[in-house]
Symmetry: C3
Subunit: 134 residues, 3 copies
């Protein structure tokens, strides 16, 4: 259900990009009840003069290892679930590749169940709502 866009700087090694994607997927599995295999993640890398990131906004110490993680998901998660997600994503990204949690920014965008088609031109959540749909 989630569709994830991750943005990093070019300096981020390719193997770290995959590890970050894996970390996000595992954190979503642990905190917001997504099913196994629900893994659609695009990682884009940018030059230093193409991604502008304030180093200190909201009291952080951001570096060239900054990661922006934009997660599009079905509406209905509680604030508590979202907060658990943020915590676990930051922890797992840090554990996986050593990026400080100050460098992990996360954005959620909610949509409705009818707003997805996973293939075959069908709206799967409308035609055959799975038990785990929130």
């Amino acid at each position: 259900m989630p569709f994830v866009r991750i943005d990093v700087f070019n300096a981020t090694p390719v193997e770290d990009r995959k590890a970050i994607a894996d970390a996000v997927y595992e954190a979503m599995r642990e905190t917001i009840s997504i099913p196994e295999g629900d893994r659609f993640i695009i990682v884009s890398a940018h030059d230093k003069d193409a991604m502008f990131v304030d180093p200190h906004f909201q009291g952080m110490n951001r570096t060239e290892r900054y990661v922006a993680i934009e997660i599009r998901l079905n509406q209905g998660r509680t604030p508590e679930m979202k907060q658990a997600l943020y915590k676990r994503v930051a922890e797992r990204v840090h554990e996986a590749v050593g990026i400080a949690t100050d460098d992990v920014m996360i954005l959620l965008t909610e949509c409705a169940q009818v707003d997805w088609s996973f293939g075959k031109g069908e709206a799967q959540f409308i035609l055959h709502p799975p038990a785990w749909v929130k």
Copy 2:
């Protein structure tokens, strides 16, 4: 009104990318009442190690021809219109470039009429609502 982002793998030929964009535009014309010329579509291509796609989630058989189509549009389309859109996009993409409908993923994000400026620093849908605005 729609603003479309299409993501494909690098292996997708450039001429196919344009054909996919055309297919999406024509399908929107047919199913969700967008006016002629309302065509703003960005196609981004990714390395295999930058776009992670589950091959079988929701019963599909996804390949390196996978296409993610993110459509941002005004709120108000009915579930039936959205389902007609999914069907027609998948059909047209398949007809245009032979991509299997299993490989066509579609995501909608809704916004309000006041959330667009098409130029001149104005909110066209607020200042001069056209008859076709939903």
Copy 3:
């Protein structure tokens, strides 16, 4: 609070891309009450055969200097604030790099305060709502 994606054609000089990002940030400061340092902006450049833009939709005269500016921000701005934002972004982009306001397209996407984590795995707007949060 805003997270901004800017899309331009490859022909746009790199120094203009930064100037456009600065223009958008300053316009947001002037019209929608964002705090100093709230500056997270990604600029992506595209080939002519990867970004499809109607030249005349809604009465504009769009060129290869077209800029799409997608701003994700907290919900709650009034239509008047949004209209002021569009006007000021178009003016500032024009002043900064000479791009005609016909070429400046702006899209807003709203989210809730709980939908952001600026780092440390925390939802800052929930834990410590700053005075300026709308």
